[in-house]
């Protein structure tokens, strides 16, 4: 077992830090339906943490709890060592949690550059008067943030479509722009909701490479939901497995792969 406070070293030799976020006995009900039942797990600094499970297992609900779109019926999310009070999604975003969406939620009418710039909104705080007059602090701020954004655009290799309205881009590129927007916030935790859904093999490989690079280059902690088991096992350091709203496995990819409950959930079990 791992030491709760000190972190651990991954198979490929990366040092993972202490607990950054912890779900403590989370339960989520919609009326009479229990979407998530008493789940606890932690996310550690610098790791790539995956949440997997069959359709309807409650993975997306869990991500929505982390990002503040849902409030848990019971239990609490602990963030940086303290319980997080119920918050609106924009407040969670301002605390350093950025996310992407399963069905891509981009600002279709705006250019790629503008979309990524919105990721910097939490980093900008010039007064409204300064902004209205496009003067002083607002101007300096805009320039400084623009630099950071260009860096991310370069990093994700989307320079050539910087000025293209997002609505015109193909699906795979849209996913990448969404990742860029989330990265632009320089998040403490990056949540990815099925980053590879609907992609072809080549696009999946690109996306995997970017996720690893982001983690490597910026040290960003990443929590992701994914359907494609192969991809998950290759990418992640530790995996939580959910089924019917319950946690049925938690550990390194190898541990999870050999877990009988997980095998049953994925392959079905004879009754």
């Amino acid at each position: 077992m791992m030491d709760a406070s000190a972190g651990y070293v991954t198979e490929d030799g990366r040092q993972i830090g202490g607990v950054l976020m912890e779900m403590k006995n989370i339960t989520l009900r919609f009326g009479g339906v229990v979407a998530i039942k008493d789940i606890s797990f932690d996310i550690r600094e610098g790791e790539i943490r995956a949440i997997i499970g069959p359709n309807g297992a409650g993975k997306s609900s869990m991500l929505n709890i982390i990002s503040g779109f849902y409030t848990p019926s019971e239990g609490a999310v602990w963030y940086k060592g303290a319980p997080r009070p119920p918050m609106r999604p924009y407040e969670v975003a301002r605390m350093g949690v950025a996310r992407t969406f399963q069905n891509i939620a981009l600002f279709e009418g705006m250019t790629v550059l503008d979309n990524v710039m919105t990721g910097r909104l939490t980093k900008m705080n010039a007064g409204i008067a300064s902004q209205a007059l496009w003067w002083g602090k607002a101007r300096a701020e805009e320039v400084a943030n623009r630099e950071k954004v260009e860096e991310i655009i370069d990093f994700l290799e989307i320079q050539s479509i910087r000025k293209t309205p997002v609505g015109r881009l193909p699906y795979g590129l849209k996913k990448r722009v969404e990742l860029a927007r989330a990265l632009a916030a320089e998040p403490s935790i990056l949540l990815l909701d099925e980053p590879m859904a609907g992609m072809n093999v080549e696009e999946k490989e690109d996306m995997s490479r970017f996720i690893l690079d982001v983690n490597d280059e910026f040290g960003t902690t990443i929590a992701l939901i994914e359907h494609d088991m192969g991809v998950v096992m290759d990418l992640s350091d530790r995996v939580v497995v959910m089924d019917y709203g319950k946690k049925i496995g938690d550990g390194t990819p190898d541990e999870v792969r050999n877990n009988q409950d997980v095998i049953d959930a994925y392959l079905g079990v004879q009754h």
Partner: protein, 319 residues
């Protein structure tokens, strides 16, 4: 033959013969066009950030103008009245967000549209209760708006520009440029545009729905006040002013609901064309008063060929 001549030849001959008069007509058209554009701008701003078609924009113009005049009648100096009116428009924006919009988040657009009709009816009743229903004079001179005339003599003719109209055009132009800068260049502007595109995504990058809605309704309130002053200076302040807001509808049909540039060009086009049509075709051939319907017919005609308006986002249906 005579008929064709009077439609196709004579109007243009008239224009050519008296270019100074033509310029006068164009100027009048430009002034009303700018005011239509301003009202349309209020619509576009709210539509872009919330997909709400704000039926109340017209009554907000009346309400803002009445508030301004009302404060002045209570003995408050003109410029302080302006500041206080802006304060009232801010309170109005906050109240609308709190009481009307917030409980309706996520409802279908048509529900929110109905809610703005409710706001309209409320403001009519509330305004009459406080300020009374009678016509009022705009406090043009007290605000330091010049009331004289510029007289030019182009082509040896005669052209008269009222100074208050010149002021209105100048102020409107400054307001429009400032708004465009604000929307395209600043953090808040980007947040406004973002919110209109996708609420969920906007929340995920830390944009607060509430803050932006208040901001947008407040800006619409500022636009309403400026429009109210400019229009009130020409025609007085009364509840009848609300009707000019309906002129913004053909402007929006032409310009498209999403486009700020569209609202401006649409407004100017309608202002100019309806005035030209009235003077050169309407009055000699149709007995005048064509300005009440010309804009709507023009808009219908454009919609036949471009259902999304001249500048609107193209409607693409994927199958």
């Amino acid at each position: 033959m005579d008929f064709l001549n009077s439609i196709l030849v004579k109007p243009f001959a008239d224009m050519f013969e008296a270019p100074d008069f033509l310029m006068q007509v164009l100027w009048e058209g430009l002034v009303s066009g700018i005011l239509y554009a301003l009202i349309a701008l209020g619509f576009v701003l709210i539509f872009r950030s919330s997909r709400i078609f704000n039926f109340a924009q017209g009554i907000m113009v009346v309400f803002a103008a009445l508030t301004l005049v009302g404060f002045h009648q209570m003995g408050v100096p003109a410029w302080i009245s302006v500041v206080l009116s802006l304060g009232v428009m801010f309170v109005l924006a906050v109240s609308i967000e709190r009481i009307v919009l917030r409980p309706l988040v996520g409802q279908p657009d048509i529900i929110l549209f109905m809610a703005t009709i409710g706001i309209t009816l409320f403001l009519i009743g509330f305004g009459e209760l406080i300020f009374g229903g009678e016509n009022k004079m705009m406090i043009t001179e007290e605000l330091g708006i010049p009331t004289g005339e510029f007289i030019f003599e182009p082509f040896g003719g005669f052209l008269l520009l009222e100074q208050k109209d010149v002021t209105a055009v100048a102020v409107a132009a400054i307001l429009v440029v400032a708004l465009l800068m604000f929307l395209n260049k600043t953090r808040m502007g980007r947040a406004i545009r973002a919110l209109g595109d996708d609420h969920q995504a906007a929340l995920s990058v830390g944009i607060s729905l509430q803050t932006i809605w208040v901001l947008v309704w407040f800006i619409a309130g500022i636009i309403a006040l400026v429009t109210g002053i400019a229009w009130g200076a020409r025609a007085g302040v009364s509840f009848a002013l609300e009707v000019i807001a309906y002129k913004a509808l053909p402007v929006l049909m032409l310009g498209g609901l999403e486009s700020i540039t569209g609202a401006i060009i649409g407004g100017l086009m309608i202002g100019l064309l309806e005035k030209l049509f009235e003077i050169y075709w309407g009055q000699p051939l149709l007995g005048g008063n064509t300005e009440t319907w010309f804009a709507f017919v023009l808009a219908l005609f454009v919609l036949l060929f471009r259902p999304q308006g001249l500048f609107g986002e193209r409607i693409i249906e994927r199958v």
